[in-house]
Each structure stands twice: as structure tokens, then as C-alpha cells.
């Protein structure tokens, strides 16, 4: 059980190799967290995997991905798709 932010933070720390305290909701992926375009593609693929479950497959298009500048943007996007805080992660 973890919040959407906590799950996002774990992915970002793992993928971008940044320190946990750098990952705040207002942090931008590019300028603050140092992600280049290929890092972002990897991040999106991992987010899709993390938040998809047998009843809800998440696929983020390039257009949607481009709009997500900050960690908060990504969290808002996931909430809009029906991802809830403290979801129990079901095996795929």
C-alpha cells in the first residue's frame, strides 16, 4: 500500500538515479531531475506497467506524455484515469 506519489517517487529514483529528496511534486522531469528524452520514454513505459492492472490497462500516448512536465502532472494524469491512492497492487 502506497500513495500514487510514493509509487511514482520509487520509479523515478530507480530510473533516473536521483536522490529521494529531489523528487517533489513540483519537480520537472527535464530541468530538475535531469531526464533526457530517452529517460522519459523509459519512465513512461515503467509508469504504464506499474499502474496497469488486469482491469485497467494504462497506455500513455506521446501527446499526453509531452504535457507531463512535472511529477504532479503525472500524478494528476493517473488520478484522472481512475488510479486511487493506496491501491493494492494486483498481479498482472
Amino acid at each position: 500500500m502506497a500513495t500514487i506519489f510514493e509509487r511514482m517517487k520509487a520509479i523515478i529514483v530507480e530510473q533516473l538515479g536521483v536522490e529521494g529528496e529531489e523528487v517533489v511534486p513540483s519537480a520537472s522531469f527535464g530541468d530538475d531531475l535531469g531526464a533526457d528524452s530517452l529517460d522519459l520514454v523509459e519512465l513512461i513505459m515503467t509508469v504504464e506497467e506499474e499502474f496497469s492492472n488486469p482491469t485497467r490497462k494504462i497506455e500513455i500516448s506521446d501527446e499526453e506524455a509531452e504535457k507531463m512536465a512535472t511529477v504532479q502532472d503525472a500524478i494528476d494524469y493517473l488520478r484522472d484515469l481512475g488510479v486511487e491512492e493506496d491501491e493494492v497492487r494486483k498481479p498482472a
Binding site: S37, L38, V41, E42, I44, M45, S61
Partner: protein
Amino acid sequence: MLKTAICDLFGIEYPIIQGGMAYLGTAELVSAVSNAGGLGIIGAGNSEPDWVRQQIRLTRQLTDKPFGVNILLMSPFAEQVVDVVLEERVAVVTTGAGNPGVYIPRFKQAGIKVMPVLASVALAKRLERAGVDAVVAEGMESGGHIGEVTTMALVPQVVDGVQIPVVAAGGIGDGRGLAAALALGAQGVQIGTRFVCSEECIAHPGYKQKILQAHERSTVASGQSTGHPLRCLQNRLTRQFEEMEKAGVSKEELESFGMNRYYQGAIEGNLDNGSLIAGQVAGLIKEIKPVRVIIDEMMTEAEAIIAGLKNSYSED
């Protein structure tokens, strides 16, 4: 004869694809490669859309075989070149320097085969999902804009990551390279530098000579700080560029300093102050040959190597 899924996909005889070299992927080279059984690719680079259209039409006069267009996604004309390719119904599109995701539905709808050039497993997976027909996994040995992973490490990882055919690029210049690429799980190779030193390529003779004189350590990847490193033969320009980078010159200034340098080097033959794009394979290239000879020799050599591998080791 060595045939792979890439040959069937594009309707070509040999699994050899010409890199989409800016300024050099002209009707002359493209038609020569396609006529010799490979897949020629017009290099749109930063050229204007009208030039691309003219090259497509010229190529059609010189060959009835399939050929493609490479779209440099960073080009200021990228969007218009996409329109030209759609209007002209080119058989194949390859893309470079970016993520072509947004254009793919339009190409698919027009029945155009799409094969992005990339240097990342995640991007390959994502573009497979978007419907591309194949991918070129390009290692950092390549000339021009490069990623960070070597061909040897990248190709098998991309092969494992996707179901569609993978073409290997970077560091391949003869039949040994082709055989190695097939061993890594690739279904074909994309070649740039070797074709620069062909009779048909319109590159300046001085530039071709520089490649013939090069050895394995002659190239350098400049512009790491701009996020778009470019591999070229080392010369006065690359040394100057390196000094500017060390001095902390801004990305914008570096980019404007680098503008049009490839045209000056490759076409005008400014060997000191132009960009002489070449891959690390340059040291392997000793002679200017006709395209058909390059391709035939590569195929013959690769087949001989594959057939002879079992004799190079003992079973016990």
C-alpha cells in the same frame, strides 16, 4: 543466398540498407543501392521539402526497385518532409534523431513501411506498439548523431525487447560486420560510412580520401554537452568545438557554430572547418568502389564466414 525477414518486408534482394545520410543520400547513391539489391534511402537531413521531392522523382527515373526516405526529426522542415513523403507514396520511411510516434498513424494509413533508427530498448518497445514495421538499432560507433550504447550491446537487447525485425547499424562495413549482426539476432544491416566511399556517392573527393586515410581512433563524438553528440573525423573544427565546450560556451552558441558544417565538409570539401561525419568503421575502408561491388562483396564474405565458422573451432 542469404535472405531474411527484412528482405521480405521491403521486397529487396539483400538485407543491406543504406543509412539516410544528409546531402549524400541523393538519387545517385539511392538508385545505385536499390539497383544492386539493397534498400537505398534519400537523406532529407535539413534540406528543404522541394529538394526531397525532386530527389524522390529523380530516383524513380533511375530505378524501379523500392527505396526510402530518412526524415531527420530535428530538421526545421520535418513536418513538411512528412507531407512530401505521404504525397509521393514512398515505399519506406526511416527516421532519425527523435521519437517519430506522432507521425506513425499517417504513414501506416498511406501504406508506407516505417523503420525508426533508435538507440534505446524502451523506445523500440514503444514504437513497436505504435505499429512500426521494423527498427534500426544504432550503436554509438556510427557516424553522425549517436546514442550512448555500442552496437554489440544494443542490438541483442533490442532483439529481445521486440517481436518485429531489427536492423543493426554502427560499426558495420564489410561481410564480417554483416555476419556478426546476424549472429546478434539482427535481420539486416544499415550502412553509412562504407557507402560514402562509393563511386556513386556525390561526397567531395577530399572527404572520401579522409575516410580512406582514417584509422580506428580517427573519429570523435563532439557536442556531448548539447545533448546531440555527432561523430566525425577529428579535424580543426572538432578540436575547436571541444575547446569551446570545455570553456563552457552555451548550447545555443555551440549549435549555431555547428550550423551547415556538414554541407561544408561533405559537399564543398572544407576538410579543416567542415564536419566530416564518419563512423568508427572508417579505418576499415581502404578503397572507393562501385556500390554493386561493395554489396556483392559483403554478401559473399558474410556467407563464407557463416559457412566457415564451424571450421574455426574444434568440437572437443
